[in-house]
């Protein structure tokens, strides 16, 4: 029995010595200060593209052939010809699909073409389009106010930092407001053995 005890004690001691020496030999890591040319990535702007679907809020302009024209060029102090013909000619590139809201002057101000119109005929500045939409879309506006409709960025906790909200027209086109379809990102493969080929068809793998 003694013999066994000594034997196991010796084995244990040698195993410990061996283990420690192994640690010594395989543990060294270069210190951060010593290693050179480390890549330092700036993540202050975030890693993913959080730009809204339609970009920033832009002032009212006529966009044609890459040029921007102020609305006052044609609509200077008058509402313009409301015939369908004129609309087709001058704003042919606009799609219209806004439900029952078919008239330009429901939203655009009849006198000041650089502003929107409120119920009482007063002006809504063109940089506050949300007030215009709220005229009719009360439930959505109230949900937007408390952060349920539309995306709220930056901080979930308002006490720790700013929250940013998007304006309606940063996601919805006011002339055809239904959210537009988009291309999805690639689907996952189900196993690590299954590689997606260029045609998007999978080869190998079985399930």
């Amino acid at each position: 029995m003694n013999q066994d005890r000594i034997q196991s004690a010796a084995i244990l001691a040698i195993a410990v010595v061996l283990f420690v020496s192994c640690l010594e030999s395989c543990s060294p890591l270069p210190s951060i200060a010593a290693s050179t040319a480390l890549y330092e990535r700036d993540t202050s702007a975030g890693l993913s593209d959080i730009a809204p679907v339609r970009g920033p809020v832009r002032p009212l302009r006529l966009h044609r052939d890459g040029d921007e024209t102020e609305c006052t060029l044609c609509h200077d102090g008058f509402a313009g010809d409301k015939t369908e013909e004129a609309l087709k000619n001058e704003h042919a590139d606009l799609k219209f699909n806004h439900g029952l809201n078919l008239l330009c002057l429901n939203c655009h101000h009849p006198k000041n073409s650089m502003a929107y119109v409120y119920h009482d005929g007063s002006e809504i500045p063109s940089d506050q389009p949300t007030r215009l939409c709220a005229k009719c879309h009360g439930p959505h506006y109230r949900e937007w106010m408390i952060g349920l409709h539309g995306r709220v960025n930056k901080y979930w906790d308002p006490s720790q930092g700013d929250q940013t909200k998007l304006d309606c027209i940063q996601c919805h086109n006011p002339h055809h407001p239904r959210f537009e379809s988009m291309a999805p990102m690639p689907p996952p493969t189900l196993t690590r053995f299954e590689k997606v080929t260029k045609e998007g068809e999978s080869d190998g793998g079985s399930h």
Binding site: C26, R41, R151, V152, F179, M182
Partner: protein
């Protein structure tokens, strides 16, 4: 040798070496023991030999590292520094690794608007970028998006691998699924080494240095939310997200399980998780379940809320809801 002589003399006087034992140790016995030791030594050296060629195995420090909950603040500081060194040596990137603690009075919850989600999978890839999941391994993504028939909630009919020119498709709706951070998580109960546990703020955390990779938790999870690292993740230095948390997005070693952790390194600093930041439709709403004026409680009180696999009694902190 001097010791041995002493033993022999002691044995000669019939004094047992260990109390309660009798018998003698002779020179022959000692030699036998020595030979045995030599043989064991050689065997041990042989057994350890493969470790030397193991390039992506644990370092000695990682091998001896304590469980997360038993690390003192000074040990934690040392550990975080070692992780930063490891990122520097393995990936050539300068990282900051933090250990972010739960905020008192905060219990995280997620609400996802099924009426809005359009299945664009932007959240899936934002999550992968944020959490240092290699983009060429989409099977490792924490979020999976199910495409389902409208007027059905049969998960068996859902298609994870849908691919379309444009989404949403006619007659379909989309249901992203990630870890539900359950109040009664089945995954933590089955872990044989307590490498995964629920944190006070509701997040189910994993200590990647403690996980033995048995994958019991993956079998236990009713939401298929956990992923296993078959290979060591590979990145170019410029693809690494250097803002890391010890329990969240530091690069995981091969052979451990990982999953969504509500972007612990972001949300415990008050920020939104990466998936909520990027959702083009604003379907994802993240907040504090305990805040009576918060958005999560508003949804629970005013919307039609759906809990996935409620019959599993996991009591998730992830709510799906519908609106008009």
């Amino acid at each position: 040798m001097a010791d041995h002589t002493d033993h022999e003399e002691a044995a000669g006087q019939s004094q047992p070496l260990f109390p309660g034992e009798s018998g003698t140790t002779g020179r022959r016995g000692f030699l036998k023991a020595g030979m045995g030791t030599m043989a064991a030594l050689a065997a041990a050296a042989g057994a350890l030999e493969p470790l030397r060629s193991l390039k992506d195995g644990p370092t000695a420090e990682e091998f001896l590292r304590q469980h997360y909950t038993r690390l003192t603040p000074s040990m934690m500081e040392e550990v975080l520094h070692r992780v930063e060194e490891r990122v520097a040596s393995d990936y050539g990137a300068k990282a900051h690794v933090g250990d972010y603690k739960p905020i008192p009075g905060v219990e995280f919850a997620y609400a996802l608007n099924l009426s809005r989600c359009n299945g664009s999978r932007r959240c899936v890839y934002a999550c992968m970028k944020e959490n240092n999941v290699p983009l060429d391994h989409p099977e490792m993504a924490y979020i999976r998006v199910l495409e389902m028939e409208i007027k059905s909630l049969d998960l068996e009919e859902g298609d994870v691998r849908f691919d379309a020119e444009a989404v949403p498709r006619e007659g379909k709706f989309y249901m992203p699924i990630a870890c539900h951070q359950c109040s009664k998580p089945p995954c933590t109960k089955v872990c044989p080494v307590e490498a995964t546990w629920p944190e006070p703020d509701g997040i189910v955390a994993i200590d990647y240095s403690w996980c033995i990779g048995c994958r019991y938790c993956m079998a236990a999870c009713p939401y298929e939310a956990r992923r296993f690292n078959w290979t060591k993740p590979e990145f170019a230095p410029e693809d690494i997200n250097p803002d890391m948390g010890y329990l969240s997005n530091r690069p995981r070693p091969r052979g451990v399980v990982e999953k969504c952790h509500f972007c612990m390194h972001r949300t415990r600093q008050g920020k939104n998780p990466a998936c909520a930041e990027v959702c083009p439709t604003g379907s994802r709403i993240f907040g504090n379940l305990l805040d009576p004026d918060g958005r999560i409680q508003f949804i629970l009180k005013n919307k039609r809320v759906y809990v996935l696999k409620a019959e599993a009694r996991t009591i998730p902190r992830f709510y799906y809801f519908f609106d008009n």
